[in-house]
Symmetry: C2
Subunit: 230 residues, 2 copies
Amino acid sequence: MSQSRPRIVPEATVARLAVYLRVLAGLADGGRSHVSSGELASAAGVNPAGLRKDLSYLGPCGVRGVGYSISGLRERLTEALGGERSRPCVLVGIGRLGSALADYTGFASRGFQFVGLLDSDPRTVGTEVGGVPVRPVEELEAVVADTQASIGVITTPAEVAQSVCDRLVTAGVRSILNFAPVALTVPAGVDVRKVDLSVELQVLAFLDQQRDGSPPVVASMRTGVSGGAR
Amino acid sequence: MSQSRPRIVPEATVARLAVYLRVLAGLADGGRSHVSSGELASAAGVNPAGLRKDLSYLGPCGVRGVGYSISGLRERLTEALGGERSRPCVLVGIGRLGSALADYTGFASRGFQFVGLLDSDPRTVGTEVGGVPVRPVEELEAVVADTQASIGVITTPAEVAQSVCDRLVTAGVRSILNFAPVALTVPAGVDVRKVDLSVELQVLAFLDQQRDGSPPVVASMRTGVSGGAR
DNA sequence: TCCTGTGAACTCATTCACAGCC
DNA sequence: GGCTGTGAATGAGTTCACAGGA
């Protein structure tokens, strides 16, 4: 194993490494062999210097005056993000969003495999999503134990999210992705990340309204929001 | 040019205001009249001092020694986030994720209304999601013009996201929420926010792997005690 | 020359600590 | 006493600018 550098990788950087990997996949199809930080950065929507810094956390990856080898960099990034090993995940709450996630090909192609789908609605239990049968939520502990899943995704209504979370943690899940609109409490050693879809829209609407300079709102607000992505 | 107060609301704060509002809605049901920053903060999963600072951007909201009036604060937050006026949105790409979003009640309850659903698949066009008919993507410009939508949500495959984006911008949409895994390029004056579901999972997996396996570490990362959200 | 790698400067955000008011 | 409001301190993350190798 090539455990190269005892460097510390900022979390913000980790999030972008996955993006670079995706962009590289697209470039590889084009038959090119090398790419510069500027090119890659613009495709990924980030600043070139930032991209170089991100990559430098993995140790030197490129060749000065030339750029980065596309295949070499893909390998490096893939390894940094955990290689190609399959990662068993369980997903609780097979509503619209849950089934959309269960069937999302973007996960499977990165090694995420939903080995357990759980729901409390008897009408949903027994159906299949993406080839995996939905099981009753009572079997949560058994499913986690069987599959050794270490990642749990919660797409239940807010009211039950905390109890589902507690059960996941007790069953041994240490990483949780929460789509329910509540703040989950977990013991130390467990990592929770939250995705709040309506908050994203809300922020967009806020900026939108500011730009139009319409309502008085409260006193004082920024007058101009620069455009551009991100 | 009448420049108002230089007081600006940081974007990170705006994102949390929506969360506070949601938490307050829950508290209001309980029949209480006031809350302290500590209580509210713990329910929202943030630091009390941070919450007070967030609220202070709206001007003084609370009573020293007492706390915040629940109803008063709800009003204030609602107004700051744009009141209760309905916001027409168009959604392009009615696949699994798109239909999940179109039907998500969390949006409607905040005034977001999907007045236009568009898709390119003839099998999807003509169906209804959440009571709104899906129309052919060719009618995008007409729909935006008719509905005066200023917010667009893209849930198409990555390959067509940029062209859909261009058409939205040309049609007059100035705020875009992008779920497609590509960086969109837009002219100045247009705001794009990106949500990348697989990246969130990827980061979670990375942290997971670091904890289990190797000693090397990710920078800082809060001592995940109570929900290390975001 | 071109492009990477990286310290240093800077911007943005969070947290602390305490002053001020009830 | 309790709790808000806020300057100051800290920290994270981004951008700059240039050193250094191909």
